[in-house]
Amino acid sequence: MLKAIGARSIADLFSPIPAEYRLGRDLKVPRQMAESEIVDWFRERSRENGDGYASFLGAGAYFHYRPVIIDSLISRGEFLTAYTPYQAEISQGTLQAIFEFQTMICELTGMEVANASMYDGSTGAAEAVMMAVRLTGRHSVLVARSVHPEYREVLATYAHHQGLPIAEVPFGKDGRIDVKALENSITPDTACVLIQSPNFFGTIEDAEAIAEIAHKNGAMLAVSIAEAVSLGIVEPPRKADIIAMEAQSFGVPLGFGGPYCGVIATKEKYVRQMPGRLTGQTVDSNGKRGFVLTLATREQHIRREKATSNICTNQALVALMVNIFMTIYGKVGLRELAKQNLAKTAYAAGQFGKHASILFDSSPRFNEFVLETSEDPYAINGRVLGHKIVGGLPLKKFYPELGNASLWCCTELTTRSAIDTAVGVVAESENSIRVDQGESFEEESEVMP
């Protein structure tokens, strides 16, 4: 090949690089490993990573069963190793799958259009807010404090250089957005109100009432949905203008936080301000149905600095997992699945509630609840961990005002015996606080910001 090129050596090919910058040594990275060694190394890491623990963690990342055919199908090289479907004639598989994905997301959210995916729920929520700002021409934002704290942090990062003041609306005793406070803080410059439902505490917000307040003031309502399975049994916020969803619950592994699958859904009239790729139906030159990426004039590769967003890559393969999951459970299964989540959570809340207090108990919830203990939840979790169970998420780092509260999640995979074991530890703690308080779990308290 060198001869064909007319070069004497590989070094010739690198002669455009000024000599003083060329690396004259080996990179200091681990030596080349055989496949068996690679598998061993990661197996070791897997073992160090909570393998075999049951868990009550949710908080935006949910452990649901993943039917095996999801991985069988997404592992097909034609899906796994394909590029973005810009060349429609040889990408009809990916394109039709996205079209079906968009359709199912619309069905589930009650919106008219959905995009082909965003990075995740947090960036999707931030993009939804930016979209509302473009649509209303207004320049301030109200965010419920009951929205996932890390979503709020991402929004703050995104909004910081757009000259977008963000104000937080507190939650009331019922764990939902404080409607009075919302009414008092909304102004003629409010572009949108961002809520999450079920919110970070698992409580279902009254989206209809909030939409009314927003719309009365000329603002939009953007709703973040972090637990997609809730859509099987909880009425979607149909009065919202924009829904930003995290679809991880639909067949995507927890994977220590990613990759996940954000989605934005909205009304048809707003589609030209929606960020992200979109697939549309059309016909070929013989009149046959086919699909293409469309409305690209919103996007960065056409509009450059005037684009709706800088987003380019989305989460296509993850969206395909979500797609397959939605297809498997479908119209009946999704409801039954959601109902099991409801039942496990109701049981757990009932059992824990016998020994400690369940906050926001007056509001409807899906599969999470807030437990308030007398003892530091990190200490309790330390003992729960001894049973190979990860307890609920202590909330004090995100919500210091909630003291010893922690957020517990149950899904269809949570067993009664795990619930009973954890309840036993909490009961013991409540019964003998004085004895346990001496122990220190300082290390655990550094987990959260």
Binding site: Y21, D120, G255, N310
Partner: protein, 494 residues
């Protein structure tokens, strides 16, 4: 019309409607275990919030789902089927061991909020990959949080801005060469910077004199892709960095083309202050039909205080932990820690290569691009004859005389069993054909590609209509994109 190639052959594949068209009540592909807790009445628990109906969600059986998606998959082109010469996209082989290790239970089921003491495996992976990427790029620190390249650009520019703010003023604008990716200007706008275009010189490189003239105290940074989108190494990179640094500006490198540099030269050594990597390009994580990506941002020491939080640190007892106490941080750009599953794959790729393999990968990528260039020189117009690194950009100037534009040639390439190259980019080359073979291709596959391209060029002369109406061998012919955009149909309706 004769069949055009040794490589491809028409084959029967299945028709398949939309999944909704196969749905009928009573079909199911799911089964839940019996409840081990008392059943509940949703109406009682949820009241008015209870959902009664799931609309047009499908009801199908498992074999139907398997067939549905398998049939759809056969309508896709993929790296696994053949060469994917998409310039700047780096469509290299996606090793399967990466997929296996990313699915190991502890990694696939790890919850982002599980206690650190049972997260040491994930933290070790993050730390080890960070160290490898710092070494490969010659930078001092890195964040793996950004979810994709464009997201990395955003993160990088946020750090640039925070840096300038810490020095007193954020500055006003970002310089971007006319050959840049569209994400660069879109990102600069999101961070509140004005975009100023920088012209390329006759060799396709940054015009250093123009840069000197445009550089002043208002410029926050230059966003430079190196090798640039012509596949050309910016030979005056040291001067470029000096010009920026002399006026307090920073050099941002778009690492989309890092595949041309790994193991041979390190951006940190030639003056780059901040850069992003695309793990789905250089580090072999699968494109998956358009994502997920991962866009780590590597930086020099001066930018370290501004890294997104949290960062991974080693505690005195040797265990790893997240540090959230970063008062100067730009904040968070994503929930949790980034696309962790992609870190696992990228690290497995790094292990499989080691120092020798990484260097050879780069050498092979550059060798392959130059081999293709040599094979097609003279057949296609080469607008810049500057030496190529990992990709080469031709133009359709010769073929356009017969009416065949770059997109037509690309569509015809499909009939020959190849994915099209990147068309009409970079913008500085009218009618560009941007070709990046990557290191994954054998000489045999490259020869087939060169032969196909030559054959298409001959067809343009002899039977241009064949090229203009291509592709001829696909399930669908050219699709009506205009109607799709004018009257958007974005979902199925019963």
């Amino acid at each position: 019309m004769k069949h055009p190639s040794l490589k491809s052959r028409l084959q029967v594949n299945q028709n398949e409607g939309l999944i909704f068209e196969k749905s009928s009540p009573g079909k199911a592909a799911w089964k839940l275990p019996p409840l081990d807790v008392p059943d509940v009445d949703p109406a009682k628990l949820l009241g008015a919030s209870e959902r009664k109906d799931l609309g047009n969600m499908p009801e199908v059986s498992e074999i139907e789902i398997i067939r549905h998606f398998t049939r759809l998959s056969t309508w896709n082109y993929a790296i696994d089927l053949g060469m994917y010469p998409l310039g700047s996209c780096t469509m290299k082989y996606n090793p399967r061991v990466n997929e296996v290790v990313s699915r190991l239970e502890g990694l696939a089921n790890g919850h982002p909020y599980q206690p650190e003491r049972i997260s040491q495996g994930a933290l070790r992976i993050i730390k080890t990959l960070s160290e490898c990427l710092n070494e490969i790029t010659g930078m001092d620190a890195i964040t793996l949080q950004p979810a994709a390249g464009a997201h990395g650009e955003l993160t990088g520019l946020l750090m640039v801005r925070a840096y300038h703010e810490s020095k007193g003023a954020a500055r006003k604008k970002v310089l971007i060469p006319d050959s840049a990716h569209g994400t660069n200007p879109a990102t600069a706008a999101m961070v509140g910077y004005a975009v100023e275009n920088l012209k390329s010189n006759s060799r396709g490189m940054v015009d250093v004199e123009a840069l000197s003239a445009q550089m002043n105290e208002d410029v926050a940074c230059l966003m430079l892709t190196n090798p640039n989108t012509l596949g050309v190494f910016e030979q005056e990179i040291h001067k470029i960095a000096d010009i920026l640094h002399a006026k307090g500006g920073l050099l941002y490198m778009d690492g989309a083309n890092m595949n041309a540099l790994v193991g041979k030269v390190r951006p940190g050594d030639f003056g780059v202050d901040v850069m992003h990597l695309n793990l789905h390009k250089t580090f072999s994580t699968p494109h998956g039909g358009g994502g997920p990506g991962s866009g780590p941002v590597a930086i020099k020491k001066i930018l370290e205080p501004f890294l997104p939080k949290p960062v991974v640190v080693t505690k005195p007892d040797g265990t790893l932990a997240f540090d959230y106490d970063r008062p100067q941080s730009v904040g968070r750009v994503r929930a949790y820690y980034g696309n962790f599953g992609m870190f696992v794959r990228a690290l497995a790729y790094t292990f499989a290569n080691g120092p020798d393999g990484l260097r050879q990968t780069t050498e092979d990528a550059v060798l392959n691009a130059n081999y293709v260039r040599k094979g097609l020189e003279g057949v296609f117009d080469l607008p810049y004859d500057t030496p190529s690194m990992h990709e080469v950009v031709f133009s359709d100037k010769i073929q356009a005389r017969k009416g065949a534009k770059t997109m037509d040639l690309a569509k015809r390439l499909i009939d020959y069993g190849f994915h099209p190259y990147t068309t009409a980019f970079p913008l500085i080359v009218p009618g560009a054909l941007m070709i990046e073979p990557t290191e994954s291709e054998s000489k045999e596959e490259l020869d087939l590609f060169v032969e196909a391209m030559k054959s298409i060029a001959a067809e343009v002369e002899e039977e241009p209509e064949t090229v203009l109406s291509a592709p001829h061998s696909t399930r669908v012919s050219r699709l009506d994109e205009t109607t799709a955009a004018r009257k958007p149909v974005l979902r199925w309706k019963p």
